[in-house]
Structures are given as structure tokens and as C-alpha cells.
């Protein structure tokens, strides 16, 4: 439980609800006059989301004390060195996943997958690079050959 997260998320969901409600009004106006248009269901969801976010916000104020106690306990854990290095690892993994996704169609499945796996293995635990190299190559090869050559699937293979 995190007071800040819950407060912000209640705000975000309220705005989302409002957005859905307003946008759905536009949909219903633009169609033929039937008993129930395509905008009604989203409008109901939008209203429900706004109501629920208000409830959540009230809850965060009501249970402030409980939140504070829990926060104090978790604070101790999250400030040590280990969790800082975990965060670093996490960001490297996220960034390499993002690059992997963006480059997949550009330079093909084989190179990107191999590089992503090799980098990720070594980021999680720096050990003998040769094992990481072999595992990454084996995985990439098995998926590519199995999927494309044997099962006849479609993947962007190599850039050349």
C-alpha cells in the first residue's frame, strides 16, 4: 500500500473516466437514432470509473493512519543498497527490451533476440560470458528454426 500511488491513481482514473464519458457523448451523437447507440455502454463505464475513483480517494483519506504505518515499514527495505542495484538492473532490462522491440522489424529477429538475451543474462548476474553466449544462441536458433523453418511461421529473419 502506498498513499501517494493510490491518491495519484484515483486522480488518473477519474480523469480517464471523465475522458471516456465526454468522448462517448460524441460517438452517440454521430450515429443514427436507434434505441441504444454505441456510446451508451462506454458512457456508463466512464461514470462508474469516476464514482469509483472518488470512493478510492475518500478511502485514502479515511485510512491515512494505516497507510503511514505500512509505509514506514516498507521504507526501511526500499532504501538499502541492494534495492538500489535492483533498480539499476530493472532499468537496464526495460531499456534493452524497448530497444529489442523497436529494432525487431528493422534488423530482424535473430540478431535482436540474441543480443537482448546476452545483455539481459549478463545484467542479471555477471558470470562466465561463454555460457550466456551459448544459451542465448541456442534459444534464438531453436525458436527461429523451429518456428520459421519447421512450422512455416513468419518472422523477419536477418537484415540481409
Amino acid at each position: 500500500m502506498n498513499l501517494k500511488f493510490d491518491k495519484i491513481s484515483s486522480l488518473v482514473f477519474f480523469i480517464l473516466g471523465l475522458f471516456i464519458f465526454l468522448e462517448s457523448r460524441k460517438i452517440s451523437q454521430s450515429t443514427l437514432d436507434t434505441a441504444i447507440g454505441p456510446g451508451v455502454f462506454p458512457a456508463v463505464i466512464g461514470i462508474a470509473l469516476m464514482v469509483l475513483s472518488v470512493v478510492l480517494f475518500i478511502e485514502t483519506i479515511k485510512f491515512k493512519k494505516t497507510y503511514k504505518i505500512i509505509e514506514k515499514e516498507t521504507e526501511k527495505e526500499s532504501n538499502d543498497e541492494e534495492s538500489q542495484s535492483n533498480k539499476k538492473v530493472f532499468f537496464i532490462i526495460i531499456i534493452s527490451t524497448f530497444l529489442y522491440i523497436l529494432l525487431l522489424e528493422k534488423i530482424g529477429y535473430v540478431i535482436t533476440t540474441f543480443l537482448f538475451l546476452f545483455v539481459a543474462f549478463q545484467t542479471l548476474e555477471r558470470s562466465k560470458w561463454i555460457t550466456s553466449f551459448i544459451v542465448a544462441a541456442l534459444f534464438t536458433g531453436t525458436i527461429y528454426v523451429g518456428f520459421v523453418k519447421i512450422l512455416g511461421g513468419n518472422l523477419p529473419g536477418l537484415p540481409f
Partner: protein, 508 residues
């Protein structure tokens, strides 16, 4: 008589060589999913959908659907078998449905009786699987006959009930669960409206016209979310594994576990049929039932075999029971069955009462294959339990990036767009943040799948009634479903206000 004929037909389908192969593949992968912490049944099934889609791509649509669902269901109940292994050997449950098994299972392992615990878990799971299947066969026909007369209004309310049940039990805060449900319903409305052809929330982005793909969202929220959680909480150290000596339980252990297996199977089945309850809750209830009625209840918690037998039977029976509302009513009661439903819809097979009439081969083939799959699991698990235990040793250093790579491969192989891959990553990060802050993600996926069906039933009902909203409370079935839905949300709330501890299901 009909039922028996259908069942025989089902066995002809399930016993074809490739379907046996699919079932075998499913249960083996399921056991692995169960054994490996970090992949649960939900992400396991979601990850395998693209693989099965490729494997079955050459077949006619209906048999492709049958074979896929045979494999995917195998993963689901296979995971229930495998989940106990890590609970017993490592004291870390592979699935949330095996959490209680650690209490007595790990104690037994410490006393050098790991083998018996594993064997009883497998035997109990087998018996429970068969009990659930018999229940499924007996209830399927009457339930689908009843449901076939449901009007659109009844259906709409039934889906409201399904969503309410899952939200009411899904997490620490019902408000948050309901918010997630609404978010899922909203995501389901994105794309071209099937009734009028109007584009909703698409903003001229062509990737949005076909809607948000449930597979991408499910894999992102569950599989990637779980991976990110493991990385951030540095949960990937290797642990000491208990040794397995003999795998055949003693006569006394067999005698002690017979009654708990029977109780666990029946309780688990009944809870499995209810939407929202699921495997995790049923294993908790089975354990607390033993605490009340078992003659040697004082030994529970100190390595007593009944503490393994009851919850392991219950979670398996529940996974079988959960197939009933899915197949007969088209209402998935949990995250995993929601994903199975999504897979069926991908093959143009709409679960629900008509399924039994229109596509008997799919349903009965699946039911028959579950018999075969359970036998396979028993045969595989007893002698191979040592092999499966070795798999726990797979370093997470390799496992985690490979899960990411499989997710990306899976989503890309079905969708072929970079947009879906970015959505996948975003869902992964959101999945971690949301579940860390007690926003349960299972209701979102369920709502995403049910939303479009729910909306079309709502609109049909209102078209019939000329826009009169009271139709939902005028029809008796519909009214009953809505009342139960309300109770499902408000009873836990009332209990909480009175300061009672409410058991929740975090498996979804």
C-alpha cells in the same frame, strides 16, 4: 444415453494421435509452469496461445480449436500438479494455489518424507481431477439446457455477476478491483463497434480499429509483470532443495490421506464451479476444513500427510470445476479460464450453451482429453518427480530474460505489429506497478474479454424492450443474477467493516 454417446465421440476425437500428443505436450508444459516459480498458470496459458496457433495452423478451424484447447487446458490442470513440487521441496509455492501445501509439505520434506508428500499430492490431484470431470459431465448438459433459454437481458446480468464475483474476491480492496474491471471494459470498447460499424476511441490510428488484443494485454500484465517484480525484488537467489528418498507412501500415509482427498475433491469442485472462488481459495478452505474435522488435526502443521492431500486435491478439483461455467454458460470464473475463453474466441468458437449443440466435438473432445491428461499426469509425476524437481534448479538469470523473449515472440507471431509489442511492454510495467499497489489485474483481463459480449447482449436486450432499462429487473433470471452480484460485492464489504478477516484469492 446421449451423454454417453457424446462422451464416446469425445474419446474418438481425443484419442487421435495428434490430440494425444497435444494433451501430452500440454500437461508436460503445465507441470513445468507449475514447478517454475515466476510463471503461473495464467501467463503459461497466455504464452502458449501463439505457439498452439502456429502448431494448428494447417488444420481445419474446428479441429484446430479442439487441439489448441486440449493443449491449453492441459497446461492449466498440469500446473496444479506441478505447483505442489516447489511447495514441498523448497517451501516456496510455485503457484498461489499451493501456498497452504507448504505448511505440512515442507515439514514432511524436512523429516525426509518429501517423496511421500509428492506422491500423495499427485495421487490426490488425480482423484480430484477425475471427480471434477465426472461432475463436469453430469452438470454440463442440464446447465447448458437451462442456459439456452436465457434472454439477452439474462445474459447481460449473468456477466455482471461473473465480473462482480471475480472483483469481489480479487484483492484487498474491492474498490480497486472494480476500477480495474471498468478499465478492462473500457479497453474492450476500443475499435470498430460491431453493431453500427462506428469507430470508437480510435482517433484515426489504424492499429486501433481491430481493437486491443486480449493476448497482448494478458501476457504483458501477467508474464512480464511477474518478471519485473522478480527482478526488482531480487527474488532470484538459488535455494537449498530437500532430497527425495522413497516415492511410495506408506500404508498408514495412504490411509490417513484417503478421507482428506475425498473431502478436498468435493469441496474444491464445488468452489471451482462458483465464479471468482478458484483454486487458491479452495485449497485454503480444504485445509481449514481438515483443521476442523480431521481426527488427527493436532498433527496438522507438523508434517501431517492430510495437510498435503486435502489442499492439493482441492486445487485440482477446482480447476476442473471452473471449466463448467466457462463451457456451459460462457462465463469464465477466473483469470486462467478467461484466457482459455479468449483462446476459444480466437478460433471463432463461442463458449456458452450453444457450444454443446453446435460444436460437440470441441467440448466432448476436451472433456475426454482431460481424462487422458490426468492419467498421463499421474504416470508422469510419480516416476519423474525427481526430474521435475531438478528443473527448479534452472537459474533465474536465464529464466527471466527467456520469459521476456517468449512473450515478445508470442505476441509478435500472432499480431505482427510493433504497436502490440510496445503495448506489451507498457502492460508489463503497469502490471507490476498495479499489482504491487493491490490493484488486481485479473479482473481487467476478464472484463476485456467479457466486455464486448456483455455490451452486445445489453444492446440486444434494450432493442427488444424498446430502450426500457427496467427489462433487466423484470426478467426473473436477470433479476436474480443482479441481486446475487450485489450480494457478492457487499457481503465481503460488510464483513470487513465488522473487522472480520476475509479470505481473498490472489490467483485471479
Amino acid at each position: 444415453m446421449d451423454t454417453i454417446n457424446y462422451l464416446i465421440d469425445g474419446f474418438t476425437v481425443a484419442l487421435s494421435w495428434y490430440n494425444i500428443l497435444f494433451a501430452l505436450l500440454g500437461v508436460i508444459i503445465g507441470t513445468l509452469v507449475g514447478v517454475l516459480p515466476g510463471i503461473g498458470p495464467m501467463s503459461g496459458v497466455a504464452l502458449l496461445i501463439p505457439v498452439t496457433a502456429t502448431l494448428t495452423s494447417g488444420m481445419p478451424l474446428e479441429s484446430a480449436a479442439t487441439s489448441s484447447i486440449i493443449l491449453l487446458a492441459g497446461v492449466y490442470y498440469g500446473a496444479m500438479y506441478g505447483g505442489s513440487t516447489t511447495s514441498i521441496l523448497l517451501n516456496t509455492p510455485g503457484e498461489s494455489s499451493s501456498v497452504v501445501t507448504t505448511l505440512d509439505g515442507y515439514q514432511m520434506a524436512q523429516q525426509g518424507r518429501a517423496g511421500s508428500a509428492l506422491a500423495i499430492a499427485a495421487i490426490g490431484s488425480f482423484i480430484a481431477g477425475i471427480v471434477a470431470l465426472i461432475g463436469l459431465i453430469l452438470l454440463a448438459e442440464p446447465l447448458s439446457k437451462l442456459a439456452i433459454d436465457f434472454s439477452p437481458a439474462d445474459y447481460f446480468s449473468l456477466m455482471v455477476l461473473g465480473l462482480a464475483a471475480v472483483s469481489g474476491l480479487a484483492g484487498k480492496s474491492i474498490t480497486k478491483a472494480l476500477i480495474m474491471t471498468c478499465a478492462g471494459l473500457f479497453l474492450g470498447t476500443i475499435g470498430i463497434d460491431v453493431v453500427t460499424g462506428v469507430a470508437r476511441f480510435t482517433y484515426n490510428q489504424s492499429v486501433l480499429y481491430s481493437g486491443i488484443e486480449f493476448l497482448t494485454v494478458a501476457v504483458g500484465l501477467f508474464a512480464l509483470g511477474e518478471v519485473f517484480k522478480t527482478i526488482l525484488e531480487k527474488d532470484y537467489k538459488q535455494e537449498e532443495i530437500s532430497k527425495i528418498n522413497r516415492i511410495i507412501p506408506t500404508k498408514e500415509e495412504m490411509k490417513d490421506s484417503a478421507a482428506p482427498i475425498a473431502r478436498g475433491s468435493i469441496l474444491g469442485f464445488l468452489l471451482g464451479v462458483l465464479p471468482g472462488a478458484g483454486a487458491t481459495l479452495s485449497s485454503f478452505f480444504a485445509y481449514s476444513l481438515e483443521k476442523k474435522v480431521n481426527k488427527k488435526r493436532d498433527k496438522l502443521g507438523k508434517g501431517y500427510i492430510a495437510g498435503v492431500a486435502a489442499p492439493e486435491s482441492a486445487n485440482n478439483a477446482a480447476s476442473g470445476g471452473a471449466m463448467i461455467p466457462l463451457l456451459t454458460l460462457g462465463i469464465p470464473g477466473s483469470g486462467t479460464t478467461a484466457i482459455l475463453m479468449g483462446a476459444l474466441i480466437m478460433y471463432n468458437v463461442q463458449p456458452g450453451p450453444l457450444l454443446f449443440e453446435e460444436k460437440p466435438n470441441v467440448v466432448w473432445g476436451l472433456i475426454a482429453s482431460m481424462f487422458i491428461g490426468n492419467v498421463m499426469l499421474l504416470i508422469l509425476n510419480l516416476p519423474l518427480v525427481k526430474v521435475f524437481a531438478k528443473i527448479i534448479d534452472t537459474p533465474k538469470k536465464y529464466l527471466l530474460p527467456i520469459i521476456i523473449a517468449i512473450s515478445i515472440f508470442g505476441v509478435y507471431a500472432v499480431q505482427y505489429t510493433t504497436f502490440d509489442l510496445i503495448l506489451l511492454l507498457v502492460c508489463g510495467i503497469l502490471g507490476y506497478l498495479l499489482s504491487k499497489n493491490d490493484f488486481p489485474v485479473a479482473p481487467l483481463v476478464l472484463a476485456l474479454i467479457l466486455g464486448p459480449i456483455m455490451e452486445s447482449n445489453m444492446r440486444r436486450a434494450l432493442t427488444i424492450s424498446n430502450g426500457d432499462y427496467s427489462v433487466f429487473i423484470k426478467e426473473p433470471f436477470s433479476l436474480a443474477f443482479l441481486i446475487i452480484a450485489l450480494l457478492w460485492i457487499f457481503i465481503p464489504l460488510l464483513l470487513k467493516m465488522r473487522g472480520k478477516n476475509v479470505v481473498i484469492s490472489d490467483e485471479g
